[in-house]
């Protein structure tokens, strides 16, 4: 009975998620694009949740891994490297076209390695101190990307990398609409939506399984009390590095997808503000609780776009005599929302349930019985 109910819920949710872009597509590609971005942020938030939510290591430079993933794909699937290095051009022709299914694991691995590199010197730090160091790390990566156009042009500096390949699986070219029948086609953005959704679902499953495992429990033990965790025989050094590495991996995959989706990347996209937003998503949604984290990511990434649309429709600028525009309104409302949520629901919008499984079932049964 209980299991059946769950299956039905999952089935309905899957159906809704599958139909959603087709409906949005009818309203305009703009809306699907918002959903795509939201999914990328969900992926990022899930990654950060491993570091912050499970292991309790406050990471304010998470966007660095997003950037590393994006630049991995940017460099491996664009004309940029052959243009600047003759030997690469000789070897591979005018443009690199590494297939995306190959770059996803590469990007994940590179980001993971950087995650461990960041983790290693910060092992003894906690809380605020760790936050400061990770914040610095995020900035270092961005500054490097911004300045590595000299002496040899690797990242093309502030100009960024353009003409990045789009995703191509088998014969499906994601950059073009997929014709189903003569007069019905699935748009490019919708195709990306399905790809991102697939990645998000896979990530949710991985996170959920990690959460309910020996590794997940060890991470949470470190979060709760590091000394006690050590006394229980947990090698906190390795576990922390694993958390940093795993979290970064998700960031890297998200970055690869971002680069393929946008076709253009520059250091501007990876500012400190992005890191702050990702942390806000995790905290606002419900730190350490997967549904909460997803909710937070969707809300904080989609809401600004919706606001922009709303203020466009009512022509906010004209109404307020130019004093208010979409960007200002967005910041204002997000700040306000954060304050309200933190006051009313300090553990997040959808926090971890208060008690373990059997009690929830018990309480549920009681409520059911009373009703």
């Amino acid at each position: 009975m209980d299991k059946q109910k769950r299956l039905i819920v999952i089935f309905l949710a899957a159906l809704a998620l599958a139909i959603l872009p087709l409906l949005l597509q009818a309203a305009g590609n703009f809306w699907v694009r918002i959903a795509d971005t939201a999914l990328l942020y969900v992926l990022l938030a899930l990654g950060l949740n491993i570091v912050v939510g499970y292991a309790g290591l406050l990471d304010l430079g998470f966007v660095a891994f997003f950037a590393i993933g994006a630049y991995t794909f940017g460099l491996l699937a664009s004309p940029h490297l052959p243009e600047n290095f003759a030997w690469i051009a000789q070897q591979f022709g005018d443009s690199l076209h590494t297939p995306v299914w190959l770059v996803i694991p590469i990007g994940a691995a590179v980001a993971g390695v950087f995650g461990i590199l960041l983790g290693a010197p910060t092992l003894k730090l906690r809380g605020d101190y760790l936050a400061i160091v990770t914040l610095g790390f995020g900035e270092i990566i961005r500054v490097f990307l911004n300045n590595l156009d000299q002496p040899v042009n690797i990242t093309n500096g502030p100009k960024g990398i353009s003409q990045i390949d789009s995703v191509r699986f088998f014969n499906i070219e994601f950059a073009r609409a997929l014709d189903i029948t003569e007069d019905y086609a699935i748009n490019s953005v919708t195709l990306y939506y399905y790809l991102f959704l697939l990645l998000v679902v896979a990530s949710v499953i991985i996170c959920h399984r990690l959460e309910l495992s020996r590794i997940g429990r060890a991470w949470m033990a470190i979060r709760e009390d590091e000394i006690a965790a050590k006394a229980m025989g947990i090698n906190t050094r390795n576990m922390k590095l694993l958390a940093f590495g795993m979290g970064a991996t998700f960031g890297g995959v998200s970055g690869v997808m971002f680069a393929a989706f946008q076709g253009f990347i520059s250091p501007e996209s990876f500012s400190l503000m992005e890191s702050v937003m990702i942390v806000a998503m995790v905290v606002l949604g419900g730190i350490g609780h997967l549904p909460g984290v997803i909710l937070g990511a969707v809300l904080l990434s989609a809401l600004p776009e919706v606001l922009r649309w709303v203020s466009g429709v009512i022509d906010l600028q004209a109404v307020t005599g130019g004093r208010l525009d979409a960007a200002i309104l967005r910041q204002l409302l997000i700040a306000l929302a954060m304050i309200i949520v933190m006051l009313l629901r300090p553990r997040g919008l959808w926090p971890t349930p208060e008690h373990g499984k059997s009690l929830q079932r018990l309480n549920g049964a009681k409520k059911g019985g009373a009703a």
């Binding site: 020996r214 429990r217 979060r223 373990g356």
Partner: protein
């Protein structure tokens, strides 16, 4: 019952100008409850932290169940077989009681990242065993009904017992309790005493650091008394209570004897 679980000798530890421990050693036989007592600041907790790897000693030899071990990292000591509880309870507050005990199984289980992500049959089997064992231990210390409550919502006495269950989950050779009766009322102390007694009867070896002299005298097979980082007496509780140096350490320098120490002495 004569094999040795813990044999340490010649432990010294210095903090700057303070000689916290000088040449302390003890031998604990399997199945014993071994008491470590002494006035405040005698070095009990320092000794405890040295043998569990939290502090690095300046000198000393260590041997656990016949094998030498170096208390260089806390998690290695737990692996070697010493489990501990903390004077000021250190549970994983935001995890359930059951999860707390399950964490204790960490060191005796192996499954890693890949097994967890793929949910391999081996992983599932191990996970089931971990949960079963954790339930068993909660039952053992008498808080099975609280398995799904967050540790921070438990009462003080229950938190102490949960800590003991968590320590037992590591399958320790030696279980070291740091002032388990601290802050307990007399009813809770009786229950604790029964629990420690039961753990001993089940063949486990216990090192007990305690302020409550009555509890130590009633429970322990052997006792070591520390004062100013030196070992001033070692023996059965009966002998130790009559030791001149011990009486002086507890009573000699104060104007009024504390009721607790006097109670222990007057037996």
């Amino acid at each position: 019952m004569t094999d040795t679980v813990l044999r340490v000798a010649g432990i010294s530890k210095r903090f700057g100008g303070l000689q916290a421990l000088s040449d302390v050693g003890l031998t604990i036989q399997r199945g014993q409850v071994y008491g470590l007592i002494g006035p405040n600041g005698a070095g009990k907790t320092t000794f405890f932290n040295v043998i569990t790897g939290l502090y690095t000693p300046d000198s000393g030899t260590f041997e656990l169940a016949g094998k030498p071990y170096t208390p260089s990292a806390v998690h290695e000591v737990a692996k070697a077989g010493i489990a501990r509880t903390f004077q000021n309870i250190r549970l994983f507050a935001d995890m359930t009681a059951l999860e707390n005990v399950m964490v204790g199984r960490h060191v005796r289980t192996r499954s890693g990242l890949i097994g967890a992500v793929l949910r391999s049959p081996k992983f599932k089997e191990e996970e089931r065993q971990i949960a079963d064992r954790a339930h068993e231990l909660l039952e053992y210390v008498g808080i099975a009904r609280l398995a799904d409550y967050k540790a921070r919502t438990l009462s003080y006495g229950d938190q102490r017992r949960l800590e003991i269950a968590r320590a037992l989950a590591t399958d320790p050779q030696l279980i070291a309790l740091d002032e388990p009766a601290a802050g307990m009322n007399s009813t809770e102390k009786v229950v604790l005493r029964e629990l420690i007694d039961r753990i001993r009867k089940d063949g486990r070896t216990i090192l007990l650091i305690e302020h409550d002299v009555k509890l130590v005298m009633g429970l322990c097979d052997r006792v070591t008394v520390l004062d100013y980082g030196k070992q001033i007496a070692e023996g059965s509780p009966y002998d130790v209570q009559r030791d001149e140096k011990v009486i002086e350490a507890y009573l000699g320098h104060s104007h009024k004897p504390t009721t607790q120490a006097a109670g222990g002495k007057a037996e």
